[in-house]
Every structure is written in structure tokens, then in C-alpha cells.
């Protein structure tokens, strides 16, 4: 109870929720990728991808690859997280109101988890359908053989993939929102109890 009291500044404010909303705002307004992968050596990239729920940039042999729907899905995710940040902020500031609990959004936690799951599924699909084994984190070498002008051409590409700092910030925002949600009920109960007595 002491921890809750400390985290809520004596049951007046949901500080983890406040922290979560600030981190969510930063995450939603940032254009930096959450995950980055690049294949190639010497500063040259055979392919590269910079992915986050809010923007996706893929290049193969120096030319962009675009899927029109992704732009709109990214826009939807960005607006949705901005909304979550705003409702969480309002809910955290009005922590003593009984109706404020539904405003503390857990979407900040769901998104990084779904993002990682989606990446894993996509990479597994790439392995199954195209036979290209790309790492989620770390390095590997992909080898493939193709035909060019009737000749058998084989290629070898070192690949490096990493989850960026932005991803960990988003995950921290999510964890913070989960904590905010957990303590929010106690704030309302305590305030209600205080009012009754």
C-alpha cells in the first residue's frame, strides 16, 4: 500500500500513467524505426528495412518497395496510440474519479508485443515461402542462387538485424501503462473510502 501511495502522490495522481502517456506520446510522434535489418557489406545495402508500427521503409537493390495499405495501417496505429496517450494522460490526472479507469489504455503494452509477434510471423513466412532465413536479432549470412541470362549466379549477403532503442522505449511505455492500470483501481477505492468516512 505504501508503494501505491508513493506512486500516486497520496492517491491524487497516477504517476505511472503519466509516465506512460509521455512515453506513448514520444513513441507515436517519433519516426524512428523499432526494428532495423540490413543486408550487405562496406556501407552498401542489398536490401534494408526500417520498421515500426508507424512507418515502414523497405529498399531492395536501392529501390523502394511499397505496399499501399501499409501507409494507412501505419497512420491508424499512430492515431490510435496518440489517442491512448491522451486518454491515459486524462485518466492519470483525474485519478480520483471513478470513471477514469477505462481511460488508462493498455494499447501501449499490446502494440510492442504484437509488433514482435508480427515480425516473427513475417520472418517465418519469408523462410517458408521464399527460403530466405532472416534473423530477428543478430547477424547471419544468407545465400541464394538465381538464374541470370541462363547462367547460374550465386550470391552471399551478410545480414544484421536489431531492435532499436525506440522499441524498448515503447515497451517501457507499455509496462508503465500496465502498472498504471493495476494501481488505478486502488486509487479510486481509497478515494471512495476516504469520502465515505
Amino acid at each position: 500500500m505504501k508503494v501505491t501511495r508513493l506512486l500516486t502522490l497520496n492517491y491524487r495522481l497516477n504517476t505511472p500513467g503519466l509516465a506512460s502517456s509521455i512515453l506513448l506520446l514520444y513513441t507515436a510522434l517519433s519516426n524512428s524505426p523499432w526494428w532495423r535489418i540490413a543486408g550487405g557489406v562496406g556501407g552498401e545495402h542489398t536490401f534494408s528495412a526500417e520498421v515500426s508500427p508507424f512507418s515502414i521503409a523497405v529498399e531492395v537493390l536501392g529501390k523502394p518497395v511499397t505496399i499501399p495499405i501499409l501507409f494507412y495501417l501505419n497512420m491508424a496505429a499512430r492515431i490510435n496510440i496518440l489517442l491512448a496517450a491522451v486518454t491515459t494522460l486524462v485518466g492519470s490526472l483525474l485519478a480520483d474519479k471513478q470513471w477514469s479507469k477505462p481511460l488508462i489504455s493498455l494499447r501501449g503494452l499490446v502494440l510492442p508485443v504484437l509488433f514482435l509477434a508480427g515480425l516473427s510471423i513475417t520472418l517465418n513466412l519469408a523462410k517458408t515461402l521464399a527460403g530466405v532465413s532472416l534473423p530477428l536479432i543478430g547477424g547471419s549470412i544468407i545465400e541464394f542462387t538465381t538464374s541470370y541470362g541462363g547462367l547460374r549466379v550465386s550470391a552471399e549477403t551478410p545480414v544484421e538485424a536489431t531492435l532499436t532503442q525506440e522499441y524498448w522505449v515503447a515497451l517501457a511505455a507499455g509496462a508503465s501503462s500496465a502498472l498504471a492500470r493495476a494501481i488505478h483501481g486502488r486509487i479510486a477505492t481509497k478515494r471512495r473510502g476516504a469520502t465515505t468516512t
Binding site: 543486408g39 550487405g40 557489406v41 562496406g42 556501407g43 552498401e44 545495402h45 542489398t46 531492395v60 537493390l61 536501392g62 529501390k63 523502394p64 518497395v65 511499397t66 505496399i67 499501399p68 495499405i69 501507409f71 494507412y72 495501417l73 497512420m75 491508424a76 492515431i79 490510435n80 489517442l83 491512448a84 486518454t87 474519479k97 471513478q98 470513471w99 477514469s100 479507469k101 477505462p102 481511460l103 489504455s105 494499447r107 541470370y148 547462367l151 547460374r152 549466379v153 550465386s154 550470391a155 552471399e156 549477403t157
Partner: protein
């Protein structure tokens, strides 16, 4: 409906709207053509090379085969190495062949790839045997694999080029060794 339920319903409604509206808008932009919005758009760069054997040359006691490379595509490449052999008219290997130096081939340019032929005593004997058979000029072929760097990938591609070799000139050069 109490305030908590109202707040919950409102956030759910807003959340669903913010998820659906951009997607619906995107579909309307593309004329409700589902296929058009999910199909990847990509036009790969054109990769097009013309390789022409441009002759054999003897220089300071060494034999070099030259290959003219015209890059007619949009991708720059670097020829980094070669693992090839020089074959005589009877298909027997005469000499290993190495790339004299790495060559960068930029789009729209023509470069010369110089291959150094390591002609040793055994190869000279073989050439002498062709001369003994009454041949003055023979057809030789450089055949093997080129190591190329393209956009940071290491690519191995087969390479072959045919040349005519004047036996008298070649035999006058004598054996060649060392880099």
C-alpha cells in the same frame, strides 16, 4: 449507464474509429480495389552487361587477356576477383588466370577487365606442342567464375571468353612466374 461505462464505451468507440477510418480512407483512395492496396509496388533496377573479349596482350614478359565490360544497366558493380583457367583448343587447362586488379563498373561506362595468365614451363611446353602440330594461331578460352560485389553482396557468376593466340609471340615470351 454510469459514468465508468460511458467512458469505457467512448474510448472503445474512438479506438475502433481511429483504427478503421484510415484503412477505409485508404481503400477509398484506391477505388475500393483490395488487390491494388495489398500488392507490393517495386521496379527492380535493370542489370545488363555486355562482355566482349578485346584481345590478348604480351607485356613485359607476361600474358594478359582483356575483356571489355559495358554496363548498360542501372547498377554499379565491382569485379573483385576471378577463379578461372585458360583452356587450349583441345579443352586442356593451360594456365590459371587471375584478375590483375579490381574493376568498378558504373552504369553507362565501359571498362576493361584485365586477366593475368600464369604461363609456366608446362603451359609453354603445351603451346610448343601445338606449334609442333603445325598450328600458328590457336583458339583459347578463359573459363571460370568471377567474384563480383553488387550492393554489398558477394556474387559469384560464371564467366567465359574466347581469344586467338599467336603461338610464335607467346613462345618467345618464355615462362612467367610471381605476381
Amino acid at each position: 449507464m454510469n459514468k465508468a461505462s460511458l467512458a469505457k464505451a467512448l474510448t472503445l468507440l474512438l479506438s475502433a474509429s481511429t483504427l478503421l477510418l484510415p484503412v477505409v480512407y485508404g481503400l477509398s483512395v484506391y477505388g475500393w480495389n483490395m488487390w491494388a492496396v495489398i500488392t507490393p509496388i517495386y521496379s527492380p533496377p535493370r542489370i545488363d552487361f555486355r562482355l566482349e573479349p578485346s584481345g590478348l596482350k604480351l607485356e613485359r614478359g607476361r600474358l594478359y587477356a582483356e575483356l571489355k565490360i559495358t554496363n548498360m544497366g542501372e547498377v554499379g558493380v565491382v569485379f573483385e576477383g576471378l577463379s578461372a583457367e585458360l583452356y587450349g583448343p583441345d579443352g586442356r587447362a593451360l594456365a590459371p588466370t587471375k584478375l590483375d586488379r579490381a574493376v568498378a563498373s558504373l552504369p553507362g561506362s565501359t571498362e576493361t577487365l584485365t586477366m593475368r595468365l600464369e604461363v609456366d614451363e608446362a603451359a609453354l611446353n603445351r603451346l610448343a606442342s601445338y606449334a609442333a602440330e603445325g598450328m600458328d594461331r590457336i583458339k583459347v578460352e578463359v573459363r571460370g567464375e568471377a567474384r563480383i560485389r553488387v550492393f554489398g553482396s558477394r556474387v559469384t557468376a560464371p564467366l567465359s571468353a574466347s581469344y586467338e593466340l599467336g603461338l610464335r609471340d607467346a613462345l618467345q615470351q618464355g615462362p612467367v612466374s610471381g605476381p
